[in-house]
Amino acid sequence: MSISPATWARTALNRLLDASPLVIALLLAFMVASTLLLALNVSPLEGFASMFEGAFGNENSTAETFVKATPMLFVAIGICIAFRGGMTNVGGEGQMIMGAVAGTAVALAAGEPLGWLGIPLAIIAGFIAGALYGGLAGWLKAWFNVNEILSTIMLNAIAVQFMNFMLNGPMLDPTEAGVNQIPKTARILETIQLPRLSLPLPPGVADLFSLQNAELFARTRLHWGLVIAVLLAVVAYFLLWRTTVGYRIRAVGENERASRYAGISVRGHMVLSMMLAGGFAGLAGIIQVLGLQYRLQTDGSATGFTGNAGFNGIVVALFGGLNPLGAIPASAFFGGLLVGAQKMQRDLGVPAALITSINGLIVIFAVSSEYFRVWLTRRRRLAEAEAQQKAASASTAGVPS
């Protein structure tokens, strides 16, 4: 039986739609963004080219993209777990700050004698502090039915003020006191700093791409935090789908009553999923200190330290399909978007608000792409049922009834 070109084309189109509702969502988002750019008298082509160049154009910009992606990936891993457990955690910002404050305190206290051991100690402290702060919202929800969206937002505000207090008082760098406006802690020892990350290249490759160094990403700000985040994303995936704890978290998230009947502690697992979410956000905070800034500092504003990673992590998690593995490419994409946007802003003078809009557009289209996919499958199955029935009636047509 030969297949007509029209059928073939339709099948091909369907395949494409199947494989990439997200890609289509992106295209649509960029199309709307283009009209915004046009309204600003900027050529969209030029704008996006500048954006891409800023994000992945050279070694350094690529490294900056990953640097931006790292904290978002940490937060997103936690968001995935919380969402699977039926909890909407918008407290990434506050949990990140708590992790950073506690971790930095440990890193500063560890000092010389412990050597590199200060790194894991600070990381663990960051995780625990974030976990307790997230767990607090989980506890309020599980025992007192306090809406976790509200409580985490409130806790964000408290965390920011707590950090401002600590940085202006107990943790203020004595040598910096009164010297400048930005409150900050002392610099952590070099032995406790996360090493920079670079990839040795095979001989000749550097020449081929006319790179300055024999190692990729040498002399950039890229640090080992990225590797830790990616590894933990895999661990989180394993936790959710291959362990009993993950099973129970997902069961509670999907159906509280059935879980309770099955003997699963619903409250316990609500708290646990929020603790894990908070813990990962706490890691985002402390890794930012150990790998990038080497001290805790803020301009005093709500996002002065976090750079909004606590909120952007939610977007990354959604874009990654609430799957920690999906969050890996999603974080790189959003990292690129944010870094590239800065270049576009510099090159073409578009307002920063435009970038926020594009960000929002992508989220809207990405979330609707799921509905689009469902609609598509539905239509497809309807057509199949029709074809099957026609085939069945054709085969019985010759038989007298």
Partner: protein, 517 residues
């Protein structure tokens, strides 16, 4: 404009109605595969079939809720298009749904008036409507007071309001979707009298049901559907329950079971003066006491909402105890968690399987290990899941319980009600319970699976398990139980032994007549 029904007689408006070659496709499934159906004035035509056979779909097409993919509807021989319930109402078709569409805070008259053009322009003439309602209710023996608010009415009375509303809108043809599911036997009898009266007045009536004896009692003709196709249309005279059941299932079935005399074991469940709150916040279960022994099935009968639901949940640990004591064996069990009760050998088949029984987005295998996913052999060291072991055990129960599923990793929501229930049953029996609470174990389950579940329950009984069977299906309770406890308004109003079973007496008790005080 006055009552529309008076504009012409019902038999003139719809003398014949015919559905020809109706096909309805849903994504992934063809619900109706070319069904022919007809009904004429003065006839009660029963539409019989299992859940999912296509009865409701066919009638929703007739009522305009769905559009057929192929086929024709003809009224008095002329093809018509019915695009919406509004159009079907205009053509004289009324439908009484399983779930009543009444506003509880409004009176009967106001409910009837809802969505109707009133007598005086935009002004609502409730007095006129009330008079019309009184007329209709006298004509058809539908006792109802137009001024009473609907929330005060019993379920049977609410159904009468629905019928009156349909008649008021000029329905010449009335479709009733499982109308007796919520009624006591006596209320059902009353309804049948009304329906026969209506047919005698020239109305056409389509009666959807899966209860064989009702269908035989009331209808003139019976159409049996199976898997979206019409098996046959036969006159009710001469048909028997067995022949109808065979037509529905497609193979011979057993409708009654031989219960060997119970081998009474030890007391497994002792309930004393147990009370519990209902969802509404009032005392839904009031001071119920009974003892259940190993090796026997005790049935709990009652019209929906008379405390059975609360009883099942309080014994299963899913509802707080408000008073009284519960013992499982000799262990106090009142107020214990489901997990603690499981340790005492209690298993539970919940009434709402999609809410309490399974996690609908989980796979069949995941649902099978909902209770023991952390125990060997399904977990290593209580932490690592062993998907292969789980799939292996799940394949075994799929085989043993004849579960129809594409595989172990299919989301359970894609299975039919009967197959989901088999998975729940398999999981609960895998615990080797000494006490099994089965709440509505076959609700929404096809005859084949029902038969299977019944056999499994009888097997458990033979093994010495104590079984508390809570069901709104009186036939089921009577077929399986050694004793029946009848509940009315939250109290156990009587207990009937198997040798004294009689639908009339039990039905009277269900309606509250059995109260000694």
């Amino acid at each position: 404009m006055s009552v529309q029904a008076t504009s012409s007689s019902p038999s003139e408006r719809i003398a014949t109605l015919e559905m020809r070659g109706i096909v309805k496709r849903f994504p992934g499934v063809t619900a109706l595969k070319g069904v022919d159906f007809d009904v004429h004035a003065g006839e009660i035509h029963a539409l019989l079939g299992e859940n999912g056979a296509g009865k409701s779909t066919l009638m929703k097409i007739l009522y305009g809720l769905y559009q057929q993919s192929e086929g024709q509807v003809l009224i008095n021989g002329a093809p018509v298009h019915i695009g919406s319930p509004h159009e079907s109402t205009k053509r004289g078709i009324g439908m009484i749904h399983q779930h009543f569409m009444l506003v509880p805070s409004l009176t009967v008259a106001e409910n009837v008036a809802l969505g109707m053009p009133s007598g005086r322009g935009g002004v609502l003439d409730l007095k006129k409507i009330s008079e019309d309602i009184s007329q209709l209710s006298q004509k058809y023996n539908l006792r109802i007071y137009p001024e009473r608010p609907v929330w005060q009415l019993s379920v049977g009375e609410q159904q009468r309001v629905e019928i009156i509303r349909a008649l008021y809108r000029g329905a010449a043809l009335l479709i009733l979707d499982e109308p007796t599911a919520v009624l006591t036997p006596q209320e059902s009898d009353d309804l049948f009298i009304v329906l026969k009266q209506m047919a005698a007045e020239g109305h056409s009536i389509i009666f959807i049901s899966h209860k064989l004896h009702e269908v035989l009692a009331i209808s003139d003709r019976i159409t049996v559907l199976r898997d979206g196709a019409r098996v046959n249309t036969i006159p009710a005279a001469g048909a028997t329950r067995l022949t109808l059941a065979e037509m529905m299932v497609g193979r011979p079935v057993v409708l009654e079971y031989e219960l060997p005399p119970p081998v009474r074991g030890e007391a497994r469940l002792t309930v004393q003066g147990v009370s519990a709150l209902s969802e509404r916040g009032d005392m839904g279960l009031k001071e119920v006491s009974f003892t259940l022994y190993g090796g026997e099935i005790v049935g709990v009968a009652g019209v929906s909402g008379n405390g059975q639901h609360e009883l099942a949940e309080v014994v299963a640990g899913m509802r707080p105890l408000a008073g009284g004591t519960i013992h499982v064996g000799d262990q106090p069990a009142g107020g214990k968690s489901p997990a603690a009760l499981r340790q005492l050998g209690v298993s539970y088949i919940p009434e709402e399987r999609m809410i309490d029984g399974v996690v609908k987005n989980f796979t069949v295998a995941e649902n099978f290990v909902l209770k023991d996913q952390s125990d060997p052999p399904y977990a290593l060291g209580r932490f690592f899941l062993r998907p292969r072991k789980i799939a292996e055990a799940c394949r075994q129960i799929i085989h043993d319980y004849e579960v129809k599923t594409p595989g172990t990793d299919t989301p359970i929501k894609n299975l039919s009600g009967g197959n989901i229930q088999k998975v729940v049953l398999a999981r609960e029996l895998a615990q080797q319970p000494t006490l099994l609470i089965a709440a509505q174990p076959t609700r929404g389950v096809d005859i084949g699976a029902t038969e299977y579940i019944h056999h499994r329950l009888l097997e458990e009984r033979a093994k010495g398990t104590a079984i508390l069977l809570i069901s709104e299906d009186l036939d089921e309770v009577m077929a399986l139980s050694d004793r029946i406890i009848v509940m009315y308004e939250g109290r156990a109003v009587g207990e009937v032994l198997r040798r004294d079973y009689d639908v009339r007496t039990i039905g009277a008790m269900m309606a509250g007549a059995g109260r000694g005080d």
